[in-house]
């Protein structure tokens, strides 16, 4: 067994010696890593933004992409370590899958000389100036609480600023959806004639979402709107509304604008989408990396990317439609 181990060690040694030089490029090549949270259209659109910014820069840039198979630090960390182990990475654009658990691995990467740029999600509390974590270069992403407030205001405007509304959430404990719900509560509180009659958690399952919404529709005869904190929650709620024959009578707002959500909107299941701007996040992240590389010392620690509200009235407007997370196959 010892001999076998030695053999393996030698093989690995030879391989690494022979492979490493292939990575070491000219000194003026900038190596940027992109490590999103999981395979999904949101991050795919972000990757398109990254690529676009690299193309627009005209510089000699090598992009290294790794994508975790599930949204979890357990799957993301090994990929991170592998990227850092290359030894030539200058910048890492990363959507950390956990704000606490990813701190240490990213700190190690930073210590190895990689500049970190957070996209979509953050580590620590997201405040890279005064918060506990300050080593990343910047956090570029939308503010989920703000997204919740925007959803509340858009819904209020649509229903005449009065009536009962209901929230379909995924699971308690997920920072993004919790913040969306919280922002939505704050937003609804701005309207004295509006009231949230309840929140239910569907475990990210449309079937349970339908069941819960159907029961709430029975309980609250005068419900005017439902906020789904992600696409599945909204889709399930919308199906229940449709089955009760109330399509059009009750507004269903979906957070995020996947192409599937857009489809559900065209079918009348969902009435409004709150779109984030992943393309912007990816593009700006590369811009900030290049700025830093060029010697800019005042890269903003926080760049909020904002939202677009998509409804049936503006979905065919190309200026709005481009916010739908649609990627060509």
């Amino acid at each position: 067994m010892k001999k076998l181990g030695l053999l393996a060690f030698v093989i690995i040694l030879i391989l690494s010696v022979s492979v490493v030089p292939a990575f070491s490029q000219d000194d003026d090549t900038i190596v940027i890593g992109f490590l999103p949270g999981v395979v999904d259209p949101f991050y795919q659109l972000m990757e398109i933004g990254v690529n676009q910014a690299i193309a627009d820069s005209g510089l000699n840039i090598e992009l290294v992409v790794q994508i975790p198979e599930s949204f979890s630090p357990t799957t993301q960390t090994p990929l991170l370590d592998a990227m850092v182990a290359r030894g030539d990475l200058d910048y890492l654009i990363v959507a950390a899958t956990d704000k606490e658990q990813m701190v240490a691995p990213l700190q190690l990467a930073h210590d190895a000389g990689v500049e970190i740029i957070s996209v979509d999600t953050f580590i620590g509390d997201g405040d890279y100036v005064n918060g506990p974590i300050t080593f990343p270069l910047s956090y570029i992403g939308s503010d989920n609480a703000e997204g919740g407030r925007i959803a509340a205001r858009a819904l209020a405007a649509n229903v005449g600023e009065e009536g009962k509304v209901y929230v379909q959430n995924v699971n308690p404990g997920i920072s993004t959806t919790d913040q969306r719900e919280e922002g939505f509560r704050e937003g609804i509180a701005e309207f004295p004639n509006m009231e949230i009659v309840g929140v239910d958690y569907n475990e990210d399952n449309e079937n349970l979402s339908v069941q819960q919404t159907a029961a709430v529709l029975e309980r609250e005869a005068d419900l005017v709107g439902i906020f789904g904190t992600n696409v599945f929650s909204a889709n399930g709620a919308g199906i229940a509304v449709g089955n009760a024959g109330l399509s059009g009578a009750i507004d269903v707002i979906a957070f995020d604008a996947t192409s599937f959500a857009a489809e559900q909107m065209r079918a009348g299941v969902v009435s409004m989408m709150i779109a984030q701007k992943p393309f912007d996040m990816g593009y700006l992240a590369v811009e900030m990396a290049l700025a830093h590389n060029a010697g800019v010392t005042s890269v903003p620690k926080r760049i909020p990317t904002g939202y677009a509200v998509i409804t049936m009235d503006n979905i065919d407007d190309p200026a709005i439609a481009r916010f739908i997370y649609e990627v060509g196959e």
């Binding site: 159907a214 889709n235 089955n243 599937f260």
Partner: protein
């Protein structure tokens, strides 16, 4: 020969009572739940909301369709003293395959309903293949079902995510939505269009939208057909008898010439296939293929089977029991939401009922004895 049984008629009567109670408690419990929610929902809303309505009953029926379909195959498997943990992700895989096939066929010019039908059949077939593999490994290689189906669950998960690219598969023919959401009957209560309509709903004004009820939507109809078939299969045919025999005494079944291996393979194939039907119907209801559609339902479906009185040791159980089990869970969930009970309590209550069911099953065994124990 009847010496033992006849001594102590008291004891025998007592046993009989326990036996009867343990058999019908789920029905009684379901009835109590319905009465409880009807009165308490009425009370808590000062009579403005009613639990016992056509609509709520239909909502509950739709909600249990995927759980029940998964539970049907699972009932057979657990009766044979096995377990199938793979059905959750197999359902998701079927949902994705159904969506992809229907989408691409329709895009290629196939008539939409034909594309949908072929897609659904394909989803079920792919699911069934996973069941065949489960069954072969369990029957021929003698690996415990718990381990095989746990492993297969991961394989199905990976396959579903690979095939679907980890995303919801949209872009389906719009007719798909009809299959998942339209109904056999439409009831309009009140208004000038009041009445029962067959197959299609009348046009209603915005104000009277709430007076329309869909009765027996297609997923409910399809599930009902499969429930009837499963009942027939388990209680009336040789296949069902052999399933019970294998669960009661696999060794004896083998000695009696029952092809136990082949039967086991069939059971796991069936279990995966019913999960596949659930997946195909999921795609129809939500007009999207979703790899994760079934995973959160797995434990609920096993809970339904257990509440329904199927012994985890195998050898006993009924299909109607599983239906009642699924109904109990759905009535609880719907009722608690209508009562505005904190959502976390819903899990607690379902958990309590599952443990209660197993306790009742065990106390029955303690009192009447199992085998020569």
């Amino acid at each position: 020969m009847s010496v033992n049984v006849n001594q102590g008629g008291e004891k025998s009567r007592y046993r009989q009572l326990i036996l009867t109670l343990s058999r019908v408690w789920a029905w009684v419990f379901l009835a109590i739940l319905i009465v409880f929610f009807t009165t308490s929902v009425n009370f808590s809303t000062d009579g403005s909301v009613n639990f016992l309505t056509v609509r709520t009953s239909q909502n509950i029926l739709i909600a249990i369709t995927p759980v029940l379909l998964m539970g049907l195959g699972q009932t057979f498997v657990i009766i044979s003293a096995g377990i199938d943990l793979s059905v959750g992700w197999v359902m998701g895989l079927s949902s994705v395959v159904t969506a992809l096939a229907a989408r691409d066929l329709a895009a290629g010019g196939t008539e939409p309903y034909l594309a949908i039908f072929i897609g659904m059949v394909l989803g079920v077939v792919v699911a069934a293949i996973f069941g065949v593999i489960n069954g072969v490994i369990i029957a021929k290689l003698k690996v415990p079902p718990f381990i095989v189906t746990l492993g297969m669950s991961f394989i199905a998960r990976g396959t579903a995510l690979l095939v679907g690219g980890g995303m919801t598969i949209g872009g389906l023919p719009p007719e798909f939505r009809n299959v998942g959401n339209e109904a056999l009957f439409y009831l309009v209560s009140g208004g000038e269009k009041a009445g029962l309509y067959f197959l299609s709903a009348p046009e209603l004004s915005r104000e009277s939208l709430r007076s329309l009820d869909r009765i027996f939507s297609w997923p409910v109809v399809i599930t009902t057909i499969f429930v009837a078939m499963a009942m027939f299969l388990l209680h009336r045919t040789r296949f069902g008898r052999h399933t019970l025999a294998i669960g009661g005494n696999a060794e004896a079944s083998l000695r009696a010439g029952i092809p136990v291996d082949r039967h086991t393979i069939l059971l796991y194939t069936m279990s995966a296939a019913t999960a596949g039907i659930a997946g195909a119907l999921h795609t129809a209801r939500f007009s999207g293929g979703d790899a994760r559609a079934g995973d959160p339902l797995l434990l609920g479906s096993i809970a339904a089977v257990i509440i329904g009185g199927v012994s985890l040791f195998g050898g006993s159980g009924t299909i109607i029991g599983t239906v009642i089990g699924a109904l109990i869970i759905a009535v609880l969930q719907t009722g608690l939401v209508m009562l505005s009970v904190d959502p976390f309590w819903q899990f607690v209550v379902v958990g309590v009922v599952v443990i209660l069911a197993v306790l009742i099953d065990q106390s029955r065994d303690l009192i009447i004895g199992r085998g020569d124990a």
